[in-house]
Amino acid sequence: MKIHIQVPMALMALAAMAVPTFAQQPPAHVAGKVVAVAHEKVNVNNTWLDKISVTVDNCQARGTLQTVHYLPATVSDRTALGHLYEQDLHSARTANMERQQQQPNGFGVFWVDAQGRVLRTGLLGHPVGCGDVPRVLSQFK
């Protein structure tokens, strides 16, 4: 009987040790051509904030759209979220010539947490595309 109690406790202890390890894993990333940027008002603790979402044509499965979002805050000329909103929109509008000239442009790499919230934004330039994503990721290892 005593053994039966001790085994679940040992498992729980192991699980408790495993959770912080899992939490320390490096964030995932979503990379691709920025194709759309969305803004919406959300209510957080009785305060109306701006939520910005970015949709990319995913490098890992071209033709598949994936959306990530920033932590809600205030969009303004005086905030990072405002600048990110403008720059992501600029990336979306930037012509992608990869099919015509093999020269991509307007791509982004978004490091995200488990909830899809953006932790770091990488705005890729010309001619940097899906083939360069490993090189981008290696800059932060």
Binding site: Q87, Q103, L119, T121, Q139
Partner: protein
């Protein structure tokens, strides 16, 4: 005589100390095409600040290198906000060249310290590649002295190795 020599030595030492205090140590200049710009929020002394980093394709090595600014607040009211926007524009700027018309833009020279923190950012203009004017100008060499300032158009010579391929001239001048 000896007293005068001591005074001169003391003055020189004092000048050196002042210069050392006034100017942050710049370890090296890196010139290259901006390939990516990054933003991430970081916590410094319990404050959340914006950290802006930039990757350049180093003209001298052909390798990507990434450097960062001291964390601050990205805003239209400060230089970090302007740098973030201008670097993103430099990254997106096209690099297309052919024998009839060169078209290069988006090159910068970053003066960085030992911690890879950016001390000075110089934006090069149209048809300037790796510190070289492709539109007919002579190649620049680091030995020529003056470096371009951050606020005026570059007229001096960059610290990067000139493009070994030589200058492509506009309208067919290989």
């Amino acid at each position: 005589m000896r007293k005068a020599a001591f005074s001169l030595a003391g003055m020189a030492l004092l000048c050196g100390v002042i210069a050392g205090m006034a100017l942050p140590a710049i370890a090296r200049d890196v010139t290259g095409k901006v390939t990516a710009v990054y933003h991430e929020p970081v916590v410094v002394n319990n404050k959340t600040l914006d950290k802006v980093s930039v990757s350049v394709n180093n003209c001298a090595t052909g390798q990507w290198e990434t450097f960062a600014y001291s964390p601050g607040s990205v805003s239209d009211d400060n230089s970090l906000g302007f740098l973030f926007n201008d670097l993103a524009n430099a990254a997106r700027s096209m690099v297309t060249k052919n024998q009839y018309m060169n078209s290069v833009s988006g090159h910068v020279t970053l003066a960085v310290n030992e911690q890879n923190m950016i001390q000075r950012t110089t934006f090069w203009g149209y048809n300037w590649e790796c510190g070289r004017d492709l539109d007919g100008g002579a190649p620049m060499s680091p030995a020529s002295g003056a470096k371009p300032s951050t606020t005026t158009p570059p007229t001096g010579k960059p610290a990067a190795t000139p493009n070994p391929l030589g200058g492509l001239r506009k309208f067919g001048g290989f």
